[in-house]
């Protein structure tokens, strides 16, 4: 529905109030994947196979 989106973009109110709370779409947080993957290599459960196998929960609610 591109027409609807277009229209809303021109109508946005409150933009100035809340703009600061949202980083732009290409925020640095989204670009640092290599560093994050290095970190996952370090902290991922050592024996993933065993960890996943032993992760059993009872149903709840």
């Amino acid at each position: 529905m591109p027409d609807r989106i277009q229209r809303k973009k021109s109508e946005r109110q409150n933009e100035e109030v809340i703009e600061a709370e949202v980083a732009p779409a290409d925020s640095p947080a989204l670009d640092d994947l290599d560093d994050l993957l290095d970190e996952i290599d370090e902290i991922l459960e050592e024996n993933a196979e065993e960890f996943v196998r032993s992760y059993v929960q009872k149903g709840g609610e």
Binding site: N14, L30, V56, E61
Partner: protein
């Protein structure tokens, strides 16, 4: 007229002990006692007034043969000074936030709940044998067909027929997973192959078998009819929502609560409003979840097909029109403006470039990690390391949790979250509950959502009713509590007409 959308979240956490006896009930009790034991007072939560079998669709008592009552074993059941209930539910630690008045407050006290879990973990780790380890996850599934919930609660006008409540939320609960899904590797749909779905939007969608119903543990319904208002039943309902994931993203939690609250209020204000209606919501909830491309077509009640995001745009427009036309007092103007802003941006982002919402939407954040890790190590879909990443996304240990590392934006001030670990919201009766536990905990012998029971020594036990969630606020009772030197003085002062 829309009633104020007092709301709250109940989160059951996954729990696991490694290197010692892995009994989830005793582990949950240990976790909670490690925390409350360190606190000064402990007040028990009183279950007497609970009746989870009452059904919103019928005023008649239930046929006992039709419904197997849940036997609740609650070895540990505490009320905290922030007004929350922290207890063992079945085989999980559960945190019920205090009742709050706005979606942003819901995020603050949900996040405070997470921090209390982290404090509990730290304290409990000292109490278990050397070499053993306690793990807690804010997730909703073990990947093996066992699910546990993150429930939401909303105050609804009793005069709105329940059929209208259903129409207000059904299409939303089926489609809001596009922004509120927490993501999952594999498929747990009964009878389906585990690897028939590589990655899906929601932790919970595989577990819904009915459109509307009373149960929460079997034959789960998309709209739950539990009619247990915990307040004046002649004025209000409490809509008990079980069709949602526990979110790690603060913005996802916020938008999940705010969007639902706005749609309920919009239908309260205009009960004749046409809401989007789906032909087969139970089928659609898994169709939507199993399709990260977001292109799946679901059938509408009037015989057409539509994508989940298109339904979300319709609901967004309904909420926006309601905000523009009513002034949105029931939810709060600032919260509504913020919610519409995020709702619009996230839907636009999901349509144009889904990766752009990886800082706000849990399933996108998780999928991005899993895809990148699979590529780096040449892993097949569904391999153990990827399933471990799925679980570890929700890990509450600061040294292990992946959600905290992948660049999710925050919504609320960490200092406010820290304060909310011990302080109640000021805008609901949770203020009275929390402050009484804080100041007169020794004399409070039981607390429920809608009452407190005091032991004043010589007199019979005194029950203070809290039938209205909007009374007992700081504005109404802070002075009385502050000026009472004892529970005796407090109860005497409350006997004056202040409520």
């Amino acid at each position: 007229m829309a009633v104020p959308k007092v709301c709250g979240l109940e989160t059951e956490y996954g729990i696991l002990v490694r290197g010692a006896d892995n009994n989830p009930v005793t582990a949950s009790a240990l976790l909670i006692n490690a925390y409350t034991g360190a606190a000064t007072e402990q007040v028990a939560f009183d279950l007497i007034a609970e009746d989870p079998r009452r059904d919103a669709r019928s005023p008649d008592p239930l046929d006992p043969y039709e419904f197997d009552p849940e036997l609740e074993y609650t070895p540990v059941n505490a009320v905290l000074t922030n007004g929350a209930r922290y207890y063992v539910d079945h085989a999980h630690p559960e945190m019920s936030t205090p009742e709050v008045r706005t979606p942003q407050e819901a995020v603050v006290w949900d996040r405070a709940g997470e921090e209390i879990i982290r404090d509990s973990l730290k304290a409990a780790q000292l109490l278990i044998p050397d070499g053993a380890e306690l793990l807690v996850h804010k997730n909703n599934s073990d990947g093996k067909g066992n699910s546990y919930g993150c429930h939401e609660n909303y105050l609804v006008d009793r005069s709105l027929p329940f059929g209208k409540v259903i129409s207000a939320v059904m299409a939303h609960f089926v489609t809001r997973q596009v922004f509120a899904g927490a993501g999952k590797v594999g498929c747990e749909f009964p009878g389906a192959q585990w690897n028939s779905v590589g990655f899906q939007l929601s932790q919970r969608a595989d577990f819904f078998e009915e459109e509307v119903g009373l149960e929460t543990t079997v034959r789960r319904p998309i709209v739950n009819t539990r009619d247990e208002p915990h307040c004046d039943a002649s004025k209000y309902r409490r809509l008990h929502v079980i069709a949602g994931d526990a979110n790690m993203s603060e913005i996802a939690t916020f938008l999940k609560v705010a969007s639902t609250a706005m749609l309920l209020a919009a239908v309260e204000d205009n009960p004749t409003m046409e809401m989007p209606a789906l032909a087969n919501p139970v089928r659609a909830i898994t169709q939507v979840s199993h399709d990260p491309s977001l292109q799946a077509l679901i059938s509408t009640y009037d015989g057409t097909t539509v994508r989940a995001i298109e339904v979300q745009w319709q609901l967004f427009e309904i909420a926006r029109a309601w905000v523009e036309q009513t002034g949105c007092d029931a939810v709060g103007a600032q919260d509504c403006a913020l919610a519409l802003h995020h709702w619009e941006n996230i839907l636009s982002g999901l349509e144009s470039n889904p990766a752009s919402v990886a800082d706000r939407v849990d399933w996108v954040a998780k999928q991005r990690l899993i895809n990148a890790y699979a590529e780096r190590h040449q892993l097949a879909p569904g391999s153990a390391a990827l399933r471990a990443i799925d679980l570890q996304y929700h890990d509450m240990r600061p040294s292990k949790g992946l959600a905290a590392r992948c660049g999710l934006l925050s919504l609320v001030d960490p200092a406010e979250v820290d304060r909310a670990k011990t302080k109640p919201p000021e805008s609901t009766r949770a203020y009275f509950r929390g402050r009484c536990v804080e100041r007169f905990g020794n004399d409070v012998i039981a607390a429920n959502w809608d009452s407190m029971v005091f032991d004043l020594g010589s007199d019979p036990l005194r029950r203070v009713p809290m039938d209205d969630p909007l009374r007992g606020t700081a504005e109404l009772v802070a002075n009385v509590i502050d000026n009472s030197a004892s529970a005796v003085e407090l109860v005497a002062a409350l006997a004056e007409p202040i409520r």
